[in-house]
Chain length 338, copies 4
């Protein structure tokens, strides 16, 4: 850690801070320059965080040298992790494609969509029983009844099912019925939920918050791993920017950036990442080209009748066409597609 | 609601959509232009949301005419609401000043800080027992023990106490001990929590999410009011932008914008809104000048020893100086300060 | 155009505005709803812009129905435009790869880099003689001497050369010596420059401004086309967001979005779009996968010695490796690579 | 400057870089830690910039210690600068109010508006002869004829006049007729223009770019001062964020932040900073409360007929009301208003 003092800081401040650094068992460094005095502290920066040196009125800035995450880091764990959701492996050579409607609406709609995406080659099924909605007046999912339908459809089709958990109070019910849990963008920094999900033994799909930095996403995953759950898949789903043509700005830079720094698998959600049906397929191809381990796609048997997110849902034939386009791109980057 | 069709849309699409609009009891309008066909639907737009017209492959765009919130709107409720937290009224002529440390650390630190802010003129006390922290390795509050200390300090000083709730599982305990609940920026769209807090009968301080639009903040408040809790105070606390000089960008535009559209009181948190101690006082003055009903300020008896947020916490003497600066500004805009 | 009146607007306001709409030769529409009066105006919205209806104190909002750009639009010009820079065609089936150093430093460095990128398969060469730099203390290009070197290197290698114009005062010199002009991100809304470049007969590479919406990029191109220059290539080069891990956020959503709405070719600059050498190759692959017509890549014979942008410049061997990776991806999406 | 090496960097890299640091006459520092090797370089960081250490493939990150600007800094020049535009002083105890229409439309409209703002207490007049417009189809000012009218109105009213320069080609004409030059947000990083304006001897109002960081604004001012023009006033006018309720997000944090670091005067433009007439007055009050040296406000004798920006222009009576509200706020923060 590097500590820059204000120009007016007296010599005693430097000594006081060097003593505090030593008291924590770290190696202090004193670097008096012509315009600023700079201090260094070598060692475990997590210990230094407790010193809270930035709070000192004579400190101008504090700069960390090491990344604040550990367990998710490739430095600690150099090889790619592979997360298994039932038969679906995420993070290996084969791409994972998880598809399905925004929400479980009826048994029929859910089953029809699941059969269609399976026929086109999807390896996992997604649908929400609990849906976050910006307005209290919109459909927010069927809850336990939705979960039950989802489990039945999973059993009927043989596809592993992923569904969102929004509240620690619902966690047990979802763990019992789903094959993997999703933590949605709005809950990426719901730390109570992260701690609770860290204690269960189900794979987790952790979506990036819409204004979360990549570092914050990795720290959210660090909550899960440090609580004991290392079956974590990260998901880039678009961030909020000034651009209004698309619902979100899909930040594909995040894919190779994270793959270089973390061993966790990364998938991309081009449906939320664009919010526009016609952009889903090209951005799915781009995601795979830059190294994503899979994609998460919204498909509805009849988007015009969808109770939510219909504007970004593919028709089954659109999904089938996407799978056909995806195969040669996957092969071009050395991946396979079931 | 205005529905713009794609240039290639056939005449049957227009008829199909007009029929669907009529079927919901709304008045349909047909406006064929030279380059686009435009449809209108007059009436309650919440009903139209169910039609999900944007999902139709021949629809280019859908534009709402009415705001999606109702109960928080000044159209429905033209007069200012006043929310009372114990003796403190927020939303009337008198400004509300709520101050205190980021977190309850010890009884002594909490009590000393509470006494200091009361002596300087604060009308409410804030401190966290449950703290959201980006990293799992940082101090996240003392939980129930922190709550207990907070209640004692509230009783000892006579200041009403506000504290954050992060999880529905903790709600009962916090409702029992606190005078008002805070929903933090990271939980502004934790809809399970909003629904649960909407059912209790305690005032709520709802902070704007760091990437939430003003409309989304109002819709989050709408969750609370529609669930039955109308004792809601909105809080602007800075949004996330590209600017790196400050921790957040305090969006004071939001204050007069909301005051013109909603009857709910609005307070401003210049501590999180800037993240820099030296900017807290000037931005508190600005908040009051543009119409805020109060401020929320972090103060710590000794910020250098704070376990969190020390860099943005005022020293007690800094808070006292701020209160002295605030009085003439409050008077200049027709407000009073206790 | 749709005009929503404020709830308190009197009936005379509606009549006044309808008359103004009629006076411009447009068809007025009156739609009185239960909560708001809505007016419509059908016809050429550019004429309506002059009416400036949003300025009226009784108007709540004005919503355009048609895109504000015309000449760049696919509605007017359904087929893809192909722009030729010397032998290099951009916008057809073959991908265009334009590579080179940030700046012309010496004849030797420029020639060596040009030969290396040509050997690896690039079809165009880029290097700056005039460089925009955030600080006045940094190297800002060799100006006319740099232009002269660039022309020589173009002639020696046979590669067409692209270089940035920053000032109308330099335009004649650059038009004389370069094969195509680049308008940089910081000048995308330098309207004097756009008008001047619109008058010359050289192809233009127009980069998206770092906070420009896609619509603003298309309107900047509309300046060029409306002034008479239709040899325009659009370039996505990353936008400014809250994310700090990368220098910019490459917005690949823009590629298919623009391709669907405009006939102009679109290329992507993954060097500026990421600002990180290790991310350039994966993002170049992603760009091609989602439909870009080419890429613009910074390559330097020895980035460690580069006078600018070295951290995002590929080594010649890195560029060669990228070209090898690019070929199968191009083939997978039906494109060829020279 | 602090240089962090990658974990895999060999010992020779450290030595190589230390030698390069020494070769520039700076003091090198070697700090081998347990997880990373950190190097330091003490001395003038502008010299280090040439070394471009971030380009080295074994360097993980480079962190500057000193601000990259010098001449605009309060460290070099501790006292407030006062810039004079005719009789108007900006940066002293008296607040500067510059008001006027977006554009010069006719002599009559310009004169009427100037008389109105002077009567209400404005000390300067603003109006554009050259207007940046997003679309080529919109009114972009009357150019030389507009300049001539502006000069006449300045002479007739005795108010000093400020107008925008968009192109180095127009600079001489504007310098001859205006009392101060404005560099608009879209040209804040038009470095050719900055260098040219740096050479003239007229005061400059430099507006912050809509996606410019505060540091970039200060560096743009550094261009002007380093070229010889130190009569510079900085202007905060709103930045681009995800928020859509307002045209821009006025970043008032920037006001006290800059005042603490720079000796240059800072004014605020609440008209562009909000884009909404009803928000102009409250945000003007907020600007003054947090320390702005003045405000820049759009006023039009009849906004409904304005050729541009009517929706954010005050009516003359609105401006008069604002001035009346501003006086007590100015007094509350120790300022005077003419």
């Amino acid at each position: 850690m590097i500590i820059v003092l204000k120009p007016e800081a007296p010599a005693e401040t430097a000594q006081e801070l060097l003593d505090r650094i030593s008291s924590k068992g770290l190696k202090p460094l004193h670097m008096p320059g012509s315009e600023r005095v700079v201090l260094g502290a070598l060692g475990d920066e997590r210990v230094l965080a407790e010193l809270n040196l930035i709070s000192h009125p004579m400190v101008e800035s504090v700069k960390a040298i090491l990344a604040p995450y550990k367990l998710v880091s490739r430095e600690l764990h150099p090889h790619d992790s592979v997360v298994r959701i039932g038969e679906l492996a995420i993070g290996g050579r084969a791409l994972a494609v998880i598809a399905g409607p925004c929400a479980v609406e009826t048994h029929e709609q859910t089953l029809n969509t699941a059969r269609a995406v399976k026929a086109a080659g999807a390896g996992g099924f997604r649908a929400g029983a609990y849906k976050p909605r910006t307005s209290p007046y919109k459909f927010s999912g069927h809850g336990p009844e939705g979960l039950r339908i989802l489990r039945e459809v999973g059993d009927e089709t043989g596809l592993p099912v992923v569904t969102e958990v929004m509240d620690t109070a619902d966690l047990d019910a979802i763990v019992e019925l789903a094959d993997a849990l999703q933590i949605g963008a709005r809950n990426m920094q719901n730390f109570s939920l992260l701690r609770a999900v860290g204690q269960v033994r189900k794979p987790v799909l952790l979506k990036r918050g819409m204004s979360a930095t990549i570092e914050e996403l990795l720290l959210a995953a660090e909550y899960l791993l440090s609580a004991g759950n290392d079956q974590v898949v990260l998901c880039e789903r678009g961030i909020r920017t000034f651009e209004r043509a698309t619902r979100n700005t899909l930040d594909l830079n995040a894919v190779p950036y994270i793959k270089q720094r973390s061993h966790l698998p990364v998938v991309v959600d081009p449906s939320h990442g664009t919010g526009v049906r016609d952009l889903v397929a090209p951005m799915a191809l781009a995601a795979v080209a830059c190294g994503a381990d899979g994609i998460l796609v919204e498909v509805h048997e009849n988007p015009v009748m969808a109770l939510s997110d219909g504007e970004q849902s593919l028709y089954p034939e659109g999904f089938e066409a996407l799978m056909a386009q995806l195969r040669p791109v996957a092969a071009a980057v050395g991946r396979t597609l079931g």
